[in-house]
Symmetry: D3
Subunit: 329 residues, 6 copies
């Protein structure tokens, strides 16, 4: 009874080399990622038993996607394979004063077109203590939204704790739609994670990097929706190559992480590392301050590694917290 | 009044390195190709003024696709840019006794969703002497089928000659559907190109590599539909790495090319090189035997080069015809 | 009760690009392989539940090795992690009249230094129906030899069937030593696999490619040691780039596979694909002729793919048996 | 009547990977660039109709060079092909406290050896509203110098506006020679562009990064030679990886751009992006402050992208001016 | 009588691409390095005649290792070839707040197992004016320790000057063992080099970046052991990507280098570049301040280049000392 | 008195990846080669002391060129460094029915412009027993031709034996010019090497692959010019990927090598491997049949390896002669 389950879409990610625009690419690196899958791989790295449920295309591409999770030790036995296309996205990395760019091509994917009934949800929830979802999934269509609601209900009915990362994507739906969909899910959520700049869907102003504003926002979120806790990721974009990252957790009171200044190798999946770090720490019984520090350090550390699939031992995050950057021999 | 126009879909092609399966790929090479576009680039290489009409997505990917043609000297001024997704395909190269594999992901592409009225067809046909289409396009939906019919009619009404490469793709539609669609187009076609193994859509048995059967099939096709000429590409697959390639042209009589034995570097686009070679030779007034030899040699030569975008000077095809493979200094 | 267990050493494999000698390499591709692990990944690809037991170094390299198996779906839960070095080998691919070259650097590896008691053998054998070992393992030292003997005994006592691939490596020990060690294991082996050219350790002359000699050798092996069956892999090395591969199985009578002519992309692991193909076919109840054909085809197919980790669906082997090398769309 | 014409030499550029010296390179990336060609590609990206005139070698290398411009939409119809060698340069990128290095190998190139009479100058100037040249060309020999003078005269006689980027290269000629050659061209130039550190050829002291000195220098240049405007690029080299870039334009009065701090991916072609940005803005009727800001932002943005061929939509420069470096989804 | 001899182990170095962890590597770059060999290549670059003595495995890997030195002009005639394994290490580069990682796999290497008598020490010392060793070698076993002692004695008896870089490696032995071994060698050493943070083996506290503490430590080392001079490398690790580097030399008095701030491309071998720079400067008769500046600049410059084999002309270090980072044309 | 000296030009070689034309290359591999330098590296691999004399540009490129020889153990102490450009060539590899292509760009190179007096010829000939030249050098201009004549005279006056490989390059000069230049050198040549297809400069018909014709031609060459021996390389180009290679030596009588069928990885430098193999064998006292077999096997083996710098142990050629292509473990 100790597995953590995440559910969502896994996308093929196509990325040109650094310093090359999508328009000029001769090669794409091939990775697979998705917010919830990234949380699962990161949790596995931290030593948790993680499990992922999705729908993937039959054949070689679906197999490649599943393999990318299996290699990180994620349990994929409950993934569904069906005819259809692999959702994908193109990712051009930014640098310095050039912003990065994501172009999604996920409409009509096999995940968006798989009905809830196709998933072995009951089996997938067996032995699970925690369920994590994100706000991307309900945006992917009615099937996906229904899957979220059902999974949360089932999880709560079995006594699992739950978490939800808002992850609002403006290209997928309007703030109005998101607000409504999230409202239906919130009653089944214990821990809510949001970005301090992306609170508009909750009707709140961006809290930016101001500690007081972040504290107030986290408190408001927690109390308004009755969550057991709310956490904010805080990002100051000095440039596309340099960010300052931190986090705030509000449970009974507010806990602030240190601020980590990081040169960016790949920023996609940072928020997922944050979520995984927070879950890992809290589920292991860490205190609030320790948990938010671990989460923010995981986020920062992810930024130094290429690719979505972040899967490192917890000791490496501890080294970040110690601030030790000397060569280890 | 000397340009050659081709119309069709341009696809992003994603290919793992040789000897690596799609399932195991860490990198994809990025190319753009499509039967009609390949004909346009090959014609440009041979010294023809070629022009291509398609619909491409706005933004970086559409730009990359257009650039791949512009660099080969293809006139892309009449291409349309619109919101939507880039059609694509995954191509795993075969080798020896392992067959190659193509996985299409083109449903819902911007080309499939662009209505005929969006194309500046009249302008695109100005100064054009020949129009080339292929059987892939009418398979892509009603918009695309209507575009084919309109373009052929317009071209004929302006006195252009026309050609059509059957290019039957079983994954896109049934033989029944193809037969019907082709039937509507054939009255406006002067030169018909087919594969000697893919004559089922015309209700004929595969002609394989047998000269007599090929001659009979080409004659039958020409005469049944009233084309001015019919040509067949002939492929003997010794293995996925070694093919023997030739061609047959039937105009007033039958002309056979030599048989070219070729070690395969990349076989996609071979048929398009054949079509371009045939058009180039015939439009320059070559005799039947010379024309089919040039076409088959272009096909074989294409197999020795990586990528869809085949764009080489006609002199290199002449060298193939001379059988000279010594290092040129 | 349907898993297949293999036990052995997993090695880091370092390979320069094709056409580049070890002396001149600027880059090595990084793979992990080992005869028994290769059998496990191939079985997983064919749809079997496969499990692998080994000892790996703690830290990043051991994790990388384990990940290479997990991604193929091999159950690695019973692998041991300990302090020590990762065994490795350098592999320079041959081509044409240039022979390939393997340089082993596995002495003192963590696998060689892990005592039998460190392995959770009982747990690892739970739910297992078949155990596969190879002659490399007993050559790696007394710990490894003891592990083989214990595993075979335990397996037989639990009613598992067993197989053993001679895999004699002259760089590891003498024929004399091998003969003695194998003799201790043979009483617990049901199926014995050998190379038709490597029968010296059994005191037999090389059988080469001669069917009668191969049949006689397989019969002799089976009967002399009381195996339930014996199989031979047969290789004719036309050049380092071109081989002709086949196999012979002797159960109640002799079964011969077709001969597959293959252009070689990477020949390491071919014998392991043969073993996996044979086990898969026999355990699914295939007849002798069908089984040896599947095994030989798997061997040949492996030669067309780069890397040790051969993991493809059984349908692709079926395509080889059909001799179909046309591009699949 | 809206095309912009640039004339100059196009060079093959050979660059080792980052962090590798020319002495140690195993691979060179292959690009084509040249000050005036870079201006043409950048203008095309900004939406202008740009045209380039040069002489290129016959055969594959000249074709590759021309293709690099065609893919960016530059009109190359008036380029000349002749027997001769391709000029080239080796470029080792600097980093941190290691300076970058350019080694030219352009002597005796086909461009340097092509007489003025070989160029279809009259045709090339048809429909042209602006001509841009740089100080590199007259340094390449008497043919090239004569081409500059003739082109400027012809352009002015047809009512085109003109610009000239000093681009003094100490390896090509002495300050004395440059001064004399420039003096002959200046009467036909409307807009003069220089580097604030490279004013020695005009007999002025380096203006460095001091606004007052830059303003004075630009004013002096404009007034002394009777240009309609003079612009300075301003570069502070914090290190080979970090520069601060800005610009000054003096028309009726002085306009200063913001200062852009940029991490450098590739600094070659920055000045050309500046020139293209300035021309684009001024020819579209932008005010002085807006134009110099766009020019400096284009320069900075170029530094974040690999290669000479800078070809991006004007909207991306606008994003730089807004200072928005967040990931765009 | 002007060669400089260094003796030690040469290791194969395996490094994944930047931003990729050892666990995830698909490719390793292949380099050879070792503290003393690095000093030899750097000295050769600076124009010195350098010579290196080691033991290497027979066959392709040993040849590759020797070639890596020969190409830099190091005299390898006195290297020994014997049966055995190539020592190696895995190096994962750090970045930003992620520390780099070295995993050694050198136990049982051919160098560790070659007895002193196998080396042609007398011949190797002919024509030598200076011998340089490092503290890594005596840690590699009794053979290697004996080789150090004998070489130092022989060198002194022939009138050579000598230097010794402490290079304490905690993974190889204890401080206690090192202290004892070093004590036996110190009587034969003229110049001692240490890291300001690694003085524990001498029973001193870390001197860090504090000038006074560094001066005191260098003085204490020099005087306690009777060296002619002692030098300290000083490193402030702002992050794994950014260091501030300097040095202190204590001869008759203390000399401080400037502090160089460097973005790190590859930090392995920095200390060896420091040692080579110091030896080159002192042996050419540079004054103390000049010598320590050259040494520290060489260290910093090495950090901007990929790989162990640092081999650049002395003029490039002079450019660093001038602080000139502008592009050189 | 046992070194072998070769003299000639060393060129930078730029090659796109296999299957990619020069026109489409994004990357060039960087190698250095030249007929005489290739002979020197091959001889070094075979265990000879080889020495090379040339003139190279100052700076990084000349250093890279020299390093490429030093790493193979070639003595480069007598190379000259001077201001000037590096000669180079572009090499597009052929495949199957596509011929390879070499584009030279060596006019005005530093070698062509270095006068004879600049070379330390006397020192370079000290300790030399054999001098090898090729017909490329006298084609490079009067300086280079004079260098050949002087070197041959000096060598003979010192008692060295000499060899000369005709290596006629039609792009460098006419048959008439070559004939005249060669005539001046022949009196000082002992061993003459030619291609059986390139005998036109000697006024002989191509001997092709016919043994009798080859024997007659070799005999005629030997006797007409009074050489001590003449050797012919014989190549049958089945395709650009497959050649059949052999050789004929005529001393007192004719010796024929076996015919080696080889799949080609890189054919440049094959003739140089032949020359080196022949010299190595003859200088070691091999009999005629043994020598020509070793030479032809070296030629064939070279074709299986990428790059000009062929440097392998003689044992690998012996393995080719044994026809053993099995994997060596």
């Amino acid at each position: 009874m100790n597995a953590i389950l995440t559910i969502g879409e896994l996308l093929l990610r196509l990325t040109p080399p650094c310093g090359v625009r999508l328009t000029d690419a001769e090669n794409f690196s091939v990775r697979f990622g998705g917010s919830e899958a990234n949380v699962a791989t990161a949790l596995s790295g931290f030593g948790e038993k993680s499990r992922f449920v999705t729908a993937l295309p039959e054949g070689e591409l679906g197999q490649a996607a599943e393999n990318s999770l299996r290699r990180c030790g994620v349990d994929t036995r409950f993934c569904v394979r069906a005819k259809g296309r692999m959702g994908l996205y193109y990712y051009e990395q930014g640098a310095s004063l050039r912003a990065g760019r994501v172009i999604y091509d996920r409409a009509g994917s096999v995940f968006a077109q798989t009905p809830v009934s196709a998933y072995p949800l009951a089996e997938a929830l067996e032995g699970v203590r925690h369920l994590h979802l994100s706000g991307i999934t309900p945006a992917l269509g009615s099937y996906a939204a229904a899957l979220c609601l059902l999974a949360l209900k089932e999880a709560k009915s079995r006594g699992c704790s739950t978490s939800f990362d808002l992850n609002y994507r403006a290209d997928l739906w309007s703030e109005e739609e998101a607000k409504k969909a999230f409202g239906a899910l919130f009653p089944f959520v214990d821990l809510c994670i949001a970005s301090s700049d992306g609170l508009g869907i909750l009707g709140l102003s961006p809290a930016g990097t101001d500690p007081a504003a972040c504290r107030a926002a986290a408190k408001e979120i927690k109390e308004r929706y009755g969550f057991r806790a709310a956490a904010l990721t805080v990002r100051e974009s000095v440039s596309a190559s340099l960010n300052r990252l931190s986090g705030v957790l509000y449970g009974e009171e507010a806990y602030f992480s240190p601020v980590f200044t990081v040169d960016i190798a790949d920023r996609v999946g940072g928020g997922d590392a944050f979520a995984a770090g927070l879950l890992h720490a809290l589920l292991r019984g860490a205190a609030g301050g320790e948990a938010i520090a671990f989460a923010a350090a995981a986020n920062a550390y992810k930024h130094t590694l290429y690719g979505d699939n972040f899967c490192v031992p917890a000791e490496e995050i501890d080294a970040v917290l110690r601030g030790d950057t000397r060569l280890r021999r």
